[in-house]
Symmetry: C2
Subunit: 401 residues, 2 copies
């Protein structure tokens, strides 16, 4: 008789955002006339940049002509044109990443989840809490031991390593989803030192790096010395260039990241990942890769940076409102997320329902991101200016004492 | 210290087609002036159909306008327009599949590999041999016990169930890659009966169904009664519509496929897969889904069927040549693959090198698909007519007695 992976039965039934979508559907069914302002799921709202659209259309045309048609990629790691463009992008903010160490993917989420395949089940996984649910879920699915590092009000929602806790795999996300906190270079160096001491691997999620405007803050873990020996970095164009529905990202595994197998042999982690992807992935759509390449062109950078500036303008309006209301929060400066303390001791789901019912503003309950998120709430800056202003007007009206 | 998944060290170092690519690269480096005729990897050569290109460009334009921009899909299972189109496609050849039971993916390979996540490691996996390497590799990566059902010359490379062998998960592929053999409805029914008896799940790879022109042969396992209780079906547009570089496919898990967990609870397999994909996948690029939808439109069907007819014409030329040479083979009629017995007792890699050196024709050594493939060789019909004719001319010259 076929046996299921019973770890699945221990998971929460639904992925957080599917839960939220269901609640909204129910609310809309009961209140068909109410217009919701969605500041919940981290989806973008501005369209793709014109150069990106043009590049995709040009590539679609190429696919329609025998001479320029492209089938399977030889390696499935991404076309050189895109890996070179990503490497050049890193260079633009002073970080050296070889194109050979980059693999193109269909978004960071898949790689974040799938990378667990190359690690043994006996590893202890450290996850900062609260966290993006994928880190916990994908390790819980394979039954791994998970320990948490607490991100909380006291440490500005930026958990730091504790040498009394042992970990083999460490998930970090900066700028953080959901808390909007950003690690300084000194803080990241502490994590790298801790990983090297533990002979651990860091999975660094840099999906929001494009929101960092403070030049002193690191946009990549490879800005920190030693990271090339212990860290994998995953990034995505979802937030950098509005690719949430277009699907493209990249994973960096430096060739210098070497792990010792039980027989004493040294294995490049990138080789394991390449073997995994060689069998379970077949590369990203060619027109999507051309669209992604266009993001990194000078004109693409100009156009996509305008969208980011727009979202950052939203974040500023939200931060000012919360300041005015005297509500505590993190994020909102070098991040598209604002992480706020629910008023009157409400928990996140209570506050979710309260905002939905009273002012039809949708956010994300911090409780969905882990125990340290209870009583906190995530708002995103990805809405329109108009909606952001209106949501904040309603916030002020509802929450002013 | 981080532990790797040691199962990876037991795998062959490279995915078969990466091995071949390396050999070809070496040959080209030494013989830069020689033109290769590639009949090896199963990649298509005809461009995307005009309606498909137009649909993708239209969708790209939508992505560039705020009002029609699309971000994340709510479910990640695929847009309704495409799931409905796939369901309608099934209906066109007399098979009922509900759109609710379909999930859109970025090609069958990923789902074929990733589906193992939802099954316990204690399952015995049955794979017909020779087979597409992904079935073996993805189960070997998770350390599962694998048993093989022999496809060989005696049974026309169409292995049948043996009730003395127990299996929990069964991989079948028809039309078969690499052997080109096609199961009849009666044969498939035997497998379904065996699966039901064993309370096993069949993973049915129907990637080549579009090449079946004999109306008596089943294009889906759901043409067989009982399959809706034991079979998952995976298909792809790679071969149906030349999507090898565009990346789109679909997986069907009927809601009637229920598995019993160790606590006696009944679990819909589709729910487990949905939970897995909800955490580790974020849906297929919107313009790609629109391109896929166009494949299933009346005009899309007309245009893509022309390409398939062209490839089938190639297969016919190959089959006739082998007939003339008195070389044994399977496939070539309702399949894009021809699986031939290497002459003079050569093994597949010897024959690979022999063809490469003597006539610069590239095929795939049967040895790469498993023990029963030793001494056999796969040719594909996906080349151009001109190359196919020329390759067969060289074949005749080289191999005639």
């Amino acid at each position: 008789m076929v046996k299921i992976n019973e770890n699945f039965l221990k998971l929460k039934k639904n992925y957080l955002f599917i839960d939220i979508a269901k609640r909204l559907k129910a609310y809309k069914a009961e209140n068909p006339d109410k217009e919701l302002i969605r500041m919940g799921i981290g989806d973008v709202t501005l369209p793709l940049a014109p150069v990106v659209v043009d590049a995709m259309k040009k590539a679609a045309d190429e696919m329609g002509v025998k001479e320029t048609f492209r089938g399977y990629e030889d390696s499935g790691a991404g076309y050189d044109f895109l890996r070179n463009a990503v490497s050049g992008y890193y260079k633009s903010f002073g970080v050296n990443v070889s194109p050979d160490d980059i693999r193109i993917n269909d978004g960071a989420k898949a790689d974040c989840g799938n990378i667990v395949d190359i690690f043994g089940d006996g590893n202890t996984v450290l996850i900062t809490d609260p966290a993006y649910p994928v880190y916990v879920d994908s390790n819980a699915m394979s039954g791994r031991k998970i320990v948490f590092a607490n991100s909380n009000e006291a440490n500005g929602f930026a958990a730091m390593p504790d040498y009394n806790v042992h970990a083999d795999i460490i998930y970090l996300c900066s700028p953080n989803n959901p808390t909007g906190s950003v690690y300084t270079k000194t803080q990241l160096k502490e994590w790298v030192d801790y990983a090297l001491k533990n002979e651990a691997v860091i999975i660094f999620d840099s999906a929001y790096e494009a929101f960092i405007s403070d030049p002193k803050l690191p946009r990549s873990i490879y800005a920190v010395e030693g990271a090339e020996k212990c860290a994998v970095e995953m990034c995505s164009l979802s937030k950098t260039a509005g690719f949430t529905g277009t699907r493209c990202g990249y994973t960096v595994i430096p060739s210098t990241l070497v792990v010792t197998a039980s027989d004493g042999s040294e294995v490049k982690l990138a080789d394991l990942w390449g073997r995994r992807q060689g069998s379970k992935f077949n590369g990203v759509s060619y027109p999507v890769q051309r669209a992604a390449e266009a993001v990194f062109s000078p004109e693409g950078q100009k156009q996509t940076r305008e969208a980011i500036a727009y979202y950052k303008g939203n974040a500023k309006i939200m931060a000012e409102t919360l300041d005015e209301l005297g509500i505590k929060y993190t994020g909102g400066i070098n991040s598209p997320y604002i992480w706020l303390k629910c008023p009157d001791g409400m928990n996140g789901w209570d506050f979710f329902d309260y905002l939905l019912k009273e002012i039809q503003v949708v956010g994300t309950p911090g409780d969905g991101f882990g125990p340290n998120g209870v009583g906190w709430f995530r708002l995103t800056a990805f809405g329109s200016r108009e909606n952001t202003v209106e949501a904040m007007r309603r916030f002020k009206e509802l929450l002013k004492k």
